[in-house]
């Protein structure tokens, strides 16, 4: 399986690996995927008082493309507000990383992960969910 240079780069030098305290009021956590499928992503965002994502962390169990997809998302969402981050599309991830067809699902999972993290944050703050709601969250 030949990986693109960008995928290899994200794998060798992953950005933002780690965890925030799940209970923090400024933290949103999204956990998607399943071990049975060979892909589990945990994505966390730290949101400031202005509703801007100031930091992000990820942990991923999955192939190189899955690791790269989630690493890339943590880079991209920093500095965006929640509405902007919610607009993130898997196609952008797939294009940036030059994912082959058999690995597109990794980018979809990464999109689900960030949306789950944002939804979690919003739930904590009793906010209105946007019209398009994401129901893919793991119950802890």
């Amino acid at each position: 399986m030949a990986y693109s240079e960008k995928v290899i780069d994200h794998y060798e030098n992953p950005r933002n690996v780690g965890s925030f305290d799940k209970g923090g009021s400024d933290i949103g956590t999204g956990m998607v995927g399943a071990p049975a499928c060979g892909d589990v992503m945990k994505l966390q965002i730290k949101v400031n008082a202005q509703g801007v994502i100031e930091d992000a962390r990820f942990k991923t169990y999955g192939c190189g493309s899955a690791i790269a997809s989630s690493s890339l998302v943590t880079e991209w969402v920093k500095g965006k507000n929640l509405d902007q981050a919610m607009q993130l599309k898997n196609t952008q991830i797939a294009e940036e990383l030059a994912l082959p067809p058999v690995k597109i699902h990794c980018s979809i999972l990464a999109e689900d992960a960030i949306k789950a993290a944002i939804t979690d944050y919003r739930n904590k703050h009793g906010e209105q969910q946007p019209a398009e709601h994401v129901d893919q969250r793991a119950a802890a």
């Binding site: 995927g33 071990p35 060979g38 892909d39 893919q136």
Partner: protein, 402 residues
Amino acid sequence: MQLPIYLDYSATTPVDPRVVDKMIPFLREQFGNPASRSHAFGWQAEKAVEDAREHVAALINADPRELIWTSGATEAINLALKGAAHFYKERGRHLVTVKTEHKATLDTMRELEREGFEVSYLDVASNGLLDLGQLEAALRPDTIVVSVMYVNNEIGVIQDIAAIGDLCRGRGIIFHVDAAQATGKLAIDLARLKVDLMSFSAHKTYGPKGVGALFVRRKPRVRLEAQMHGGGHERGLRSGTLPTHQIVGMGEAFRLAKTEMATELERIRMLRDRLRRGVAQMEEAYVNGDMQQRVAHNLNVSFNFVEGESLIMAIKDVAVSSGSACTSASLEPSYVLRALGRSDELAHSSIRFTVGRFTTEEEIDYTVDLVKRKVAKLRDMSPLWEMHKDGIDLASVQWAAH
């Protein structure tokens, strides 16, 4: 020591230089067609083919007349299963095999099912071994063929072929054995084993790719319907001009296997055990398959909470496989490991290391060190490892699968 290190001998082996040397003349000056009966070019080629046939027969203690040359083990398996099923279909239409067989067997069985035959696929125990009681219970009056592989390609376990042979012979059921991974790794004595058909591959035993053989017993006689027609070569069972150079290669490879197997196995077992000791020290590392009933070359390990493909990418200085080469293109976890009852996480997390004739101690030590470091790095990145460390039972989690 050269990088990358090759530890995927079960996928294929380099052709032994001595084998290459034997083959080359048959590509250059001695290019005759073995079927050319009227001149020296043909006679020379025919002699080389028959000498090779004797070498292969000697390794397995069979009569050379019982060997049919094919393009590889896959073709031999196809010929054996389809050939026997079609020939004996008036006797019955039921076949029995095992869930952990190679795709060459499983896909051929599927094809026979499509033709109207009925196939039972038996489970194995968690150590990968077939239970004889289960096999016996699966046999019916209309069972015509049983197929069980000698050595499993993914986990290296050795099935009790002698006992299965006794069982089948007692009921007049044709017994086929896929021995592709067995030659040069254990002694095969077809004078003792009650096996009717046995499939061989050259490229798993330091011979060239593209050639193999099928053993077809003469006493008691086994009949097959030919699958390749056109000239009646190989007693009418497999038509097609014989590739002299390939066959000479297989003959020489098997000759070397016979003379060198005993000493080679000692060295290989030592190397494999060195690898196992290095890796067994690690937390949450599980060896797949029985360690006793196993060939000396194979070590299949699951590193929990780390996904197999990412680990293979991480240890790219070492050539290994996750599961088997034939299934590496699909997204599914290894069906062999699933059949052992391994959880999906462990099946996805497995690495198969297979050592061979040219492996060195230095290569083993390098590999152990690399695996330890990379598994640690990937576990740091893994949410599953984090949850495990936090004491969460992953089996209790409700996953939001895609």
